[in-house]
């Protein structure tokens, strides 16, 4: 059995509301994290990610000028950004399905609706660490696999891939 040692984790919090940042910082400190950096909008959030190399980014969705979706898309650029695989938790007062889908399609690992509770925040961080998902790259998407459910089919595997269709990736 294993538990999370938050002292080893570094966070960046991006939210235009100072009170919200204070609440998140309070929760993360209570969990045990000692390295928490903050930014109040997307552009300085991107800078903070580059400078502080966090383990997890927690960002608000709606922010002026440069919002959480744009921040996530900019990070999810494996050819142009050094931390394209950074786990990202999107936080928002939005709870509508299309907003959650937008966050998912931008490349966020998870989505938490405000008001946020300590238990929910801990649970999502634990999930990111304990159950990392592979990343998918297509012509229009780069980010964590968007399917959360395992294939529950019990039928025979009928897909047949021959050896020519396997590609050796460099180490």
């Amino acid at each position: 059995m294993a538990k999370i040692d938050f002292e080893q984790l570094r966070f960046v919090i991006v939210d235009d509301n100072a009170h919200m940042r204070r609440i998140l910082r309070t929760m993360l400190r209570a969990f045990g994290s000692r390295e928490i950096y903050e930014a109040e909008e997307g552009a300085s959030g991107l800078e903070a990610v580059e400078n502080f190399q966090p383990d997890i980014l927690i960002t608000d969705l709606k922010m002026p000028i440069f919002d959480g979706l744009e921040l996530t898309r900019m990070i999810r650029n494996p050819d142009g950004f050094s931390q394209a695989y950074l786990p990202i938790i999107m936080l928002s007062a939005y709870s509508e399905k299309h907003q959650v889908i937008a966050a998912r399609d931008a490349g966020a690992n998870d989505f938490i609706c405000k008001p946020v509770s300590a238990a929910t925040l801990y649970d999502r961080i634990e999930d990111i660490i304990e159950h990392p998902r592979p990343y998918i790259r297509t012509s229009s998407y780069f980010g964590p696999e968007r399917r959360r459910q395992e294939n529950v089919s019990s039928g025979k595997e009928r897909r047949v891939l021959d050896s020519e269709q396997f590609v050796q990736l460099p180490d």
Binding site: M1, A2, K3, F31, A118, P134, Q168
Partner: protein, 194 residues
């Protein structure tokens, strides 16, 4: 091929192709990339995860309780910010920029007021944010309708009305719902009845 080589290989999967008129069959490709973060190695240590969750959340809840003495002040600041923007609309007239700021403030109240102990204010903030977001032209929303929302939030905060509210606040929220629906219908006659 040996076992290690096979484990390192990523199948280039073929999805069902699309047949386009006059063109070759198009096969969308995707790449599955194994996890690159090493957080498990870095941050997982021996221990009981359920105990750890329980201890961490209890500690966080205690910390939030200590912080909560600031919540009424924070809620007053949000309420004042909302009112200040409303007054700016009176001074300068409604504009896209001002309505956007009003939306942002209402949206923040929606997201945070419950944490501060004012779920009624959160609900009214949500109604105001939804009204502005769904209006085809937010500048055309009657200011008297906006005032109903802003003033309700101000009263809730001024009278420190915490908790889920009573029958009166429930009636006020029901009234605001009907008002918002009627307003949106008037602004956009194509909008179907709920």
């Amino acid at each position: 091929m040996d076992q290690n080589a096979k484990q390192n290989k990523i199948p280039k999967k073929r999805l069902p192709g699309k047949e386009l008129p006059g063109k070759e069959l198009q096969w969308p490709q995707f790449e599955v990339i194994p996890v690159k973060n090493n957080l498990r190695k870095k941050a997982l240590i021996a221990g009981n995860p359920k105990d750890a969750l329980s201890r961490a959340t209890q500690k966080a809840d205690r910390a939030m309780e200590q912080l909560s003495h600031q919540f009424p002040l924070w809620m007053q600041k949000e309420s004042k910010r909302l009112f200040a923007i409303r007054q700016e609309i009176d001074t300068s007239g409604p504009s896209e920029a001002l309505l956007d700021r009003l939306f942002t403030c209402a949206h923040d109240i929606k997201g945070q007021a419950t944490t501060y102990g004012y779920p009624v204010a959160a609900r009214v903030g949500q109604l105001l944010a939804d009204l502005i977001e769904h209006a085809p032209n937010p500048c055309k929303i009657p200011l008297t309708v906006i005032d109903q929302h802003v003033d309700t939030i101000r009263v809730v905060v001024a009278q420190d009305l915490r908790g889920a509210g009573n029958a009166q606040t429930k009636n006020i929220i029901a009234g605001l719902l009907v008002l918002d629906h009627t307003t949106l219908k008037r602004l956009d006659p194509r909008r179907s009845a709920a």
